[in-house]
Symmetry: C2
Subunit: 192 residues, 2 copies
Amino acid sequence: MNNWLPSSIYLALLHHPVKNKNGETIASAVTNLDLHDLSRVAKTYGVTAVYVITPLADQQALVRKIISHWREGYGAAYNPKRGEALDLVRVAESLAAAVDEIGSLEPERPVRKIATGAMQNDGVISFSALRRKLNSEAAAFLLMLGTAWGLTDDIIAEADYALEPIQGNTGYNHLPVRAAAAIILDRVLGTE
Amino acid sequence: MNNWLPSSIYLALLHHPVKNKNGETIASAVTNLDLHDLSRVAKTYGVTAVYVITPLADQQALVRKIISHWREGYGAAYNPKRGEALDLVRVAESLAAAVDEIGSLEPERPVRKIATGAMQNDGVISFSALRRKLNSEAAAFLLMLGTAWGLTDDIIAEADYALEPIQGNTGYNHLPVRAAAAIILDRVLGTE
C-alpha cells in the first residue's frame, strides 16, 4: 500500500474473459512467472494488491499452491523476497468479485477500472493524464491486464478508462503482459 | 535495427559470470520466458540483437531449440509474431565473444558496455544521460543484464558505464530481469 498518494492502485490479471488469437472468448491458463513478475513489479511501485482472476477451481488452487510455496514452504527460506512480493496476490473468481472486495476494503474510495491493451481505442486516457489522476483523486484505481490475446471488448467497454497503448519505436506491438505491466507502472508511478 | 538514431543498441543476458545469493560466481540456467520477453521487448523498441550468453553447450543447444520451434517448427505457424521477435536472439559463449561479434558487424562503431543492476554504484550514468548518448553518439551500446543475483563485480568494473538502478517507490528492489529490461528500454528509447 502506498501512503504518498491520495489514490490506491490495484492490478487485475484476467484469465477470463480474454480473447484467443481468433478473437473468441476463452479462459486462459495461469502462468507461474506472471505471478512472480507482476507481484515483484507491484511491490516495487507500491501497488496495494494484485488480483489473479480465473473462474477455474483448479487454476485457483494452483495460484494458492505457488503462493504457499514461497510464503511458507521451501521457497520462503530460499528466497524470502519472493514471498514478500507474493503477499500482494489475491485470487478472485471474476472481475466483479475483485471489484467487490476492493470496495469492501476501501469503502470510502470509488473503484475506477482502467483497461489496458495493445489496441488503439477512441477516447483513450494518456499515461500522463492517468499519472495526474493518481496524484489527485481519492479513488482506488484498478489496472486491468489481459492474458492470451487481451481483454474482451465487453471488459474494455465497461471500464471507466482505456489506457493508451504502449508504443515502441517499430510498429511491433506484441509485448508480453509482464513487460506491459512493468512499463505501465513505471510510467504512471515511477520516479527517475 | 533502428534507423532513427546515430547509435545502435544491443542487449546481453548473462548466465555466466553472474552471482548467486551468496555472492559466488556461477553459471545460471537459461529460462525459456526470458528469451521470449526480452526479444519481444527488444523488437518493440528497435534493439538490433539480444545476446544470450552461456558457456554451457547444453544450454546453448536449448536456446537454439527454442528459437527453432518458434521460427520453423509448430510455433511458427501458431504464432509468427514470436518467431519474428526471436529472430533477434544470438547465442554467445562469453561476453567477449558477443562484443567481438558486434565489433565485426559494425566495424565503424565502438562498442560501449553498460552494466545494469539493482546495486547503487559510484559514478553511475543516469537514464536521461544514457538517452542523450543514444541520440548523439555513433556507437554500439550493449546493455548487460545479469540473471540470478546479478552481474559480478568484475563485469561491472570493466563496463564503460554503470546505469543507475531503477528506483520504485517502496525500497523493494528485486525486479525480475524481464521487468528491468522492459523498464530500461522504455526509459531510454520510449516515446509517450
